[in-house]
Assembly symmetry: C2
Homo-oligomer: 239 residues x 2
DNA sequence: TTTTCTCTCCCCCGAAATGGTGAGGGATGG
DNA sequence: CCATCCCTCACCATTTCGGGGGAGAGAAAA
């Protein structure tokens, strides 16, 4: 089986997978296929849930979770601010904690080289697809140049499949807001006071309050700020 | 020049482009290359700035902006809620306004078929890469199946290049929030009152207020609700 | 070392937002 | 045609928020 055929085969199996385990199997096969030390996919959902699969050692994964490294890992922090896939060398490794983290990761078998692809979805979903390897800079540069596009596509296939399996996907489908409610919530969200919003919309402040309360009710929100947050994270309003 | 060579050539030219105009040129070439009626790239940043390029008629573009269709266009609304690329047929076209919009779009030369790829970046950036064509369902399904992956990659290349040229990129790079500020803003965003947040975090309400005000200052927000909205739309907090 | 940031605490008071309830005309959809 | 939603307006008392001060300890970065 040729290189491309092998890859297509793995991705096709993934596409038709019915169970979450298939992701773990596929990522191990892809790791072997690309001939790198590690390949990891990992996401954080809107409600703080996490899911990950990959080839890091159990010890490292446990340690990572135990130490809540997700909050300080320079790869996570750096990718969260970027759109593009990024080579680990280009991240900010200054700082005591970052260097200590790096040392610890390498002792746990993580490669000295890495390439991570950030992926974003609605409601603040953020996922990271990472390949890591132990080699010199030139070898790594050659590898990433050659496989960049494939890795991007694979990252997306993975994310798509992972989202399919996500349990808490579309449970709470909020009722859509009326046009006036959208106007009101949008202006509130950009910092206007109720008086300013009412003036902007040319309605009385009393009327405005009806919209806000109506929106709050529809969104199941506890107060105005909560309603704005919910409306934003569901894409009902945009600022 | 073969099909793939032609595409590679267009993308390579795009990659080395130094001016924003190159995007417009590239998208027209790609449209011709794929043999579709229209191809459009279009993004919205957190601060409301927009940029777009594509092959829609000037009349339609002007009309779209004039009517602020970006707020009601079912393609935008639908894609904002999704991660995956989506065929227009799968969007919600019920509702009077949506159907009227669709009719008007078609009279302006937009195809009856469409395929849109949502792309997201840090700080709430949201972009859409769309191909549209006039043909029957089967023809369109064949086309999208065959070109789905290529279109995803092209969408990313486009977005990458567009971000390079974006003028207002780094200016309003909000300072990151401190851990306690993130805690405070997150709890506020899920509807807690100041008193509840203070109790949850086991700090005095006075201290809590310092965090909120500090976050508000860092985010350049006018009030708490505004600060929550900004933090959310920049991905600094997640609910 | 010095500076800069973070985290924690405290005061006061006026302005603003909230929650509950009610009501009438108009548009839309089944 | 009738139910359902949308838009508009109004009053009440209570809770919450906003803005203005100031201060000390500790950690980390430059």
């Amino acid at each position: 089986m040729g290189m491309m055929q092998r890859r297509e085969h793995i991705l096709e199996e993934l596409e038709h997978a019915q169970e979450l385990d298939a992701l773990q199997i596929a990522i191990e096969e892809l790791r072997d296929h690309f001939g790198v030390d590690h390949m990891v996919y990992h996401w954080v959902s809107a409600n703080g849930d996490q899911y990950g699969c990959g080839t890091y050692s159990d010890a490292w994964r446990d340690r990572y979770i135990e130490q809540d490294y997700i909050r300080t890992d320079p790869v996570i922090v750096g990718c969260f601010q970027r759109f593009h896939p990024v080579d680990w060398k280009r991240l900010d490794w200054s700082g005591k904690a970052a260097r200590a983290f790096q040392r610890e990761a390498i002792t746990h078998g993580v490669g000295n080289q890495g390439f991570s692809i950030p992926i974003r979805g609605p409601n603040g979903q953020f996922a990271l697809f990472t390949v890591s390897h132990h080699c010199d800079d030139d070898t790594w540069a050659t590898f990433t140049d050659a496989n960049r596009r494939d890795l991007i596509l694979i990252a997306h296939e993975f994310n798509q499949k992972a989202l399919e399996f996500e349990p808490g996907r579309a449970p709470e489908q909020a009722r859509a807001l009326s046009p006036r409610e959208v106007d009101a919530m949008t202006l509130i969200a950009i910092g206007y006071s109720r008086a300013q919003v009412a003036e902007t919309l040319s309605i009385s402040e009393h009327t405005l309050r009806v919209y806000i309360e109506s929106a709050r009710f529809k969104l199941g929100a506890l107060n105005t700020t909560h309603a704005v947050a919910k409306a934003l994270s569901r894409g009902l309003i945009v600022i």
